[in-house]
């Protein structure tokens, strides 16, 4: 059953896109900034996980948690150092700063460890299960489960906790939230922390699933995740999940049909089409801009 196999391939790829896209969408939702450094936080997560597993002999789950914590800290530092003072500047200034931060992270990593790739150690024994004639690796299943758990956790944080309530309030109207006694700065930092932690987790998962990591690995998945976020409707959390999974499946289908060289193009054609036909994304409501 070839198509089941392809579906599993697509959903695995898509869940990585979804985890990265969540960070994009949360940050955009709260400060209307496309954080282009997000793909590089994903890369840092992959490297932290790699060093934790290969050099410090940690197990997979502790390494994953360590990568998430350190990425959360890095995300907050980026926000405090680079973006906070630009909160009232033009959006283009913040966007350019984000690109600058992205390049800074990439080339700092290259400066300290060189540009050569690293091979992730095998942490999950790679046995296969046959389901309806498709070979599905245990690795892929564990990765899917972890992604799902993280997404459910995020839903819980956003909808059931106090900080989640604050995040929703700030994204709705930051000034009104401030008047209601919400600490807007801390809420924004928390958003960066959560988004970056998810990107860090995606980095570790990516490393385990695809083995090769290198300092510029965040660029393309970062852009694809951005497409996924726009596809689902930027600023909308369930939209990022659906957009990520959908993009993964679309890319796989394009390859499966024999157009593997068009796969990257397909992602960006989707971006163009969605911007022309439905700029608010699948889940977006057409809100009228206040003038």
């Amino acid at each position: 059953m070839e198509w089941i196999q392809q579906l599993v391939n697509g959903v695995s790829l898509g869940s990585i896109y979804a985890l990265i896209a969540l960070g994009y969408t949360m940050v955009y939702g709260i400060i209307k900034l496309i954080n282009f450094a997000h793909g590089d936080v994903f890369m840092l997560g992959a490297f932290i996980g790699f060093y934790a597993i290969a050099r410090w002999d940690m197990h997979f789950i502790p390494a994953l948690i360590l990568a998430m914590i350190l990425c959360a800290v890095i995300g907050v530092i980026i926000e405090r150092v680079a973006y906070k003072r630009l909160r009232n500047a033009t959006r283009i200034a913040a966007l350019i700063t984000a690109i600058g931060v992205s390049l800074l992270i990439e080339y700092t990593v290259i400066f300290f460890r060189g540009a050569s790739p690293e091979a992730y150690p095998t942490v999950i024994e790679n046995s296969k299960i046959e389901i309806l004639g498709a070979q599905i690796s245990v690795q892929a299943i564990i990765i899917l489960v972890i992604s799902l758990v993280l997404m459910l956790l995020l839903q819980f944080i956003v909808h059931q906790t106090k900080i989640g309530k604050a995040m929703r309030a700030v994204s709705h109207d930051a000034d009104a939230a401030r008047l209601m006694g919400i600490n807007v700065d801390n809420t924004i930092s928390a958003t960066f922390a959560i988004g970056s932690a998810l990107a860090g987790a995606a980095g570790v998962i990516f490393g385990i699933y695809y083995t090769r990591i290198e300092p510029l690995m965040g660029v393309l998945p970062g852009l694809k995740a951005f497409v996924a976020a726009v596809l689902g409707g930027i600023g909308i959390i369930p939209g990022a999940m659906v957009g990520g999974l959908l993009l993964g499946v679309v890319e796989t289908v394009v390859s499966a049909l024999g157009y593997s060289l068009w796969r990257d193009a397909a992602a960006f054609v989707i971006l163009i089409l969605i911007l022309i036909l439905r700029p608010a994304g699948i889940f977006g409501k057409n809100a009228r801009e206040k003038v």
Binding site: S255, G258, S260
Partner: protein, 402 residues
């Protein structure tokens, strides 16, 4: 062996501008008089041999391996009295794995250091970029591992007079792989999965396909990927559905490592085969030793070859560097002996021109990577070795003559 059109274009542009600048500067400078066709010579007590190699950057592992092999050969020659009583002076310049830097390094070796010959860049792309410099300054350049046809022959089929190589060319590896698949593995339905951004891989795939069809085999699936891809699963699933009994994967180790791993994960158990682009320890790290079982490569040489000449080289190398020599070490070593042989026959006046002539006339020269004769396109006619990966180690399988 890496090749990129844009880089090549950029390097040619840069090379022309650098040259223009130099020529313009000549008129004003006092020493500028001798610049036209400034070929090196060996009037002193030493013979200067340059090396224009990838000592840093993306393919640094190729360049530094060639450098190590070359240094070993030069030490041996100098210890045994040099060439015609003259010691070799070896000048290595780093081209940073970059086409434009390779051209600059070539100009520096020819113009400032006045070498009589140089070891050329390791990859086809960098070597091709440097050819023009070699022709212009009339200094022969020998690439140890640039396997693309276009290094020694330009687009119109004209031989580049001052470009030579020690390795065999790409189409030959494809033919060897096809013969190995049909004769030794009895493969009938084969699939090809190539790196469509690399001229090296495309050349190999084309010659493999032609030969396999001549041998009565059938290509059931042709797929392609691009450099830097990480997800090959959907395409591999496609290949799997055709049930090939052999898959040919011309490409470089960074992607091939992932392809092999993912292919085995999807349950493709057929033999997989590639060429010298697979030859790197990184391949074993990426794919894992288990997944690499039942895979084969064609290569220039094997340290497990029982030939006594090879075993002598292996022990000399191990004594110097305390590790096993790979194919690039052997090619670097051979390149120096290839030059030595030519310089000995170059006559009393050792210059770029006389060495070039002697190199082109090389016949039945016995070296580590095979006995070879230089043909009219400046390619050596020599044998290839087929290796099998067994638990992550390359083991000698067979030797194939052209």
């Amino acid at each position: 062996m890496k090749h990129s059109k844009m880089k090549k274009f950029a390097s040619i542009f840069l090379a022309t501008s650098v040259l223009a600048g130099m020529l313009a500067g000549c008129g004003a400078s006092e020493e500028g008089g001798s610049s036209s066709g400034g070929s090196g010579s060996s009037d002193g007590d030493t013979i200067k041999i340059g090396a224009n190699l990838e000592l840093s950057g993306g393919v640094a592992s190729y360049g530094s391996s060639i450098n190590d092999g070359a240094k070993l050969a030069i030490d041996e020659i100098n210890k045994n009295g040099g060439i015609n009583g003259k010691k070799i002076e070896y000048i290595a310049v780093d081209n940073k794995s970059d086409n434009a830097e390779a051209v600059t390094a070539g100009i520096r070796l020819a113009e400032q250091e006045k070498v009589v010959a140089m070891l050329g860049p390791a990859t086809s792309g960098n070597a091709t970029a440097t050819v023009q410099t070699a022709n212009q300054f009339k200094v022969p350049m020998v690439t140890a591992s640039g396997t693309a046809e276009t290094v020694t022959v330009d687009k119109d089929g004209k031989v580049n007079d001052y470009a030579f190589r020690t390795c065999f060319i790409d189409p030959f590896q494809g033919i060897v792989a096809a013969n190995f698949a049909t004769e030794e593995l009895k493969a009938k339905n084969v699939a090809i999965y190539m790196d469509s951004t690399s001229d090296y891989a495309k050349g190999l795939a084309a010659s493999f396909k032609k030969q396999i069809e001549e041998n009565g085999g059938k290509v059931v699936k042709e797929e392609a990927y691009v450099t830097d891809d990480v997800d090959f699963k959907s395409t591999l699933t496609n290949i799997k559905s055709e049930n090939p009994d052999f898959v040919f994967i011309p490409g470089y180790y960074e992607e091939v490592g992932l392809i092999v791993k993912q292919a085995r994960e999807l349950g493709i158990d057929a033999p997989l085969m590639g060429a010298d682009g697979w030859d790197s320890p990184t391949l074993v790290e990426l794919a894992g030793p288990d997944a690499l079982n039942n895979t084969f490569i064609t290569n220039h040489y094997s340290s497990g070859d029982p030939d006594p000449k090879i075993q002598d080289f292996v022990s000399a190398f191990e004594a110097e560097y305390s590790k096993q020599p790979n194919a690039f070490h052997a090619l670097g070593y051979d390149t120096v002996y290839f030059l030595k042989d030519a310089i000995e026959r170059a006559g009393d006046k050792v210059t770029g021109e006389t060495v070039q002539k002697a190199l082109a006339e090389t016949k039945d020269l016995s070296l580590i990577t095979g006995t070879f004769t230089v043909d009219k396109n400046h390619n050596p006619v020599k044998s290839a070795t087929v290796l099998e990966f067994v638990d992550g180690n390359q083991e000698f399988k067979s030797k194939v003559n052209p």
